[in-house]
Subunit: 284 residues, 2 copies
């Protein structure tokens, strides 16, 4: 979806924005901390507002799932602080992140908390906003394209469709682990689209539970790995083949699973382009 | 959330993009039709990619829920075709829209099909993409900030929260009408956030059915009217007060209803600014 020239164009665009810094943020957006969604990976899927906040920031506190291309929009003097969470190996605890944001904001710096996807969809943006507000700070939340929307668009999967899906439910694979049983009967109901974030490791159990609760084994399913990046892969399968597909293709995080009739629209034309995007440039 | 100066800045930004037209779209994005999400209303919530497609378009086919501020990014010579749907009064049928897109694309024009929110979330983008592809055209889908994400960010409502909501479900109020009964038991399950699009007219029935299926009457609920625009109103209530709140405040479409524990975070500071944005500049 992206032309090779786009990153260069975007940098020019960034320079154009820098030329008119500092922009007046206005009274309504003058909060010292902006919690900003970085979108699913493709830097062109940043919103204009996110780009502007990023360019104005003194300090950018970011996760693992924020691409180097997105971080490149920061102004040269901005401090970038990585607080990413790899599974099981947290670089910083949530408490440490909260303290960090608070410290920089109180020191009078323009702080951007940059999160992959949308800050309010499995991003813990709510907890961070709550913490900052409880300490008297103003917080602005800038939404981002969440992985479900970004990956669906890139893979040709409409999340809703008058003939097939009247609802879309977003859940995480963590939530489908045995120790945190979701309402499988609710998730297995037909006529909706299910998008599972962080669901690679638990794909086999998810498929098994959904089938056990009545979802047809032949229900279309798709896997979108590194969606919207140059390394995107789209794998089309069925619910009863999901686990095997994930295993055989060696799917790795970040990826979303899409389950429901609409997954049949997946463009299974895997795009295995050269890794023009660094490994960290990945979608949530 | 928006400073008064922003529209001007955006126009400058638009001019900067125009200066380097025509941009190479590259082989992967060379489809003659781009189905583009315009986001929830605030023009700064357009993605960079959407802005670029809009600026490159010869023909823009748009809905009612696309603001004049967004349309202003089109180049001066571009043709704008309104195909909006007001409830019960379709300006054009879906068949007419499909034929229109096809005709302009086959005539060699760069066509942007611009839709409020995200084209694949209650936007019929899937049907239009299907139709165009069936007729041999390449289609690119550019995701947009869907109303749920835009309104949640603007109203301070995290859609998911480790303590309160492990899933988020998007549905329409149309789907909750008596003739198209949804799975109320599924929607009424606790621990999730429910976002109802186009749900103003059916708010009373929605609340009644959810309570009848076991959702607690005191479940927090919020209404976000014209979310992310200058006319945004946020109303915080409870599920059993939802219908009365909607009626007493005279809530009108476009609006989303948010039901679930996280709705308690709603910033009920109604922002009734001067109508700086024209009435059509409304969020899906």
């Amino acid at each position: 979806m992206r032309a090779p020239s786009d990153p260069i164009d975007l940098h020019r665009h960034g320079a154009a924005l820098r030329a008119r810094r500092p922009a007046p943020l206005g009274p309504a957006s003058a909060g010292p901390v902006a919690i900003v969604g970085a979108g699913p990976g493709d830097p062109e899927l940043l919103t204009v507002k996110a780009l502007r906040r990023l360019e104005a920031a003194d300090v950018i506190v970011h996760d693992r799932l924020v691409s180097g291309e997105v971080l490149a929009f920061a102004r040269p003097g901005a401090e970038r602080i990585y607080v990413g969470k790899a599974a099981g190996a947290h670089a910083k605890t949530q408490e440490q992140i909260n303290a960090l944001l608070l410290g920089h904001a109180r020191a009078g710096r323009r702080v951007v908390r940059l999160k992959g996807g949308d800050p309010f969809v499995f991003g813990r943006g709510g907890e961070e906003a709550e913490h900052l507000r409880a300490h008297g700070l103003e917080v602005e939340v800038v939404p981002g394209i969440t992985a479900a929307a970004g990956c669906a668009a890139a893979a040709g999967i409409p999340l809703t469709h008058r003939d097939h899906a009247h609802a879309v439910t977003l859940v995480t694979g963590h939530g489908t682990a045995p120790e945190a049983e979701p309402d499988w009967a609710g998730l297995a109901r037909p006529g909706q689209t299910l998008v599972i974030y962080m669901g690679v490791a638990t794909a086999a159990r998810t498929a098994e539970r959904l089938i056990a609760h009545g979802l047809a084994p032949e229900t279309p399913a798709a896997v979108v790995e590194k969606g919207t990046t140059e390394e995107q892969r789209v794998l089309a399968t069925r619910l009863d083949g999901l686990a095997a597909t994930v295993a055989e293709a060696g799917v790795r995080a970040p990826a979303v699973l899409v389950i429901g009739a609409v997954a049949a629209y997946a463009e299974a034309a895997d795009r295995l382009a050269e890794p023009a995007v660094p490994a960290c440039a990945a979608a949530l």
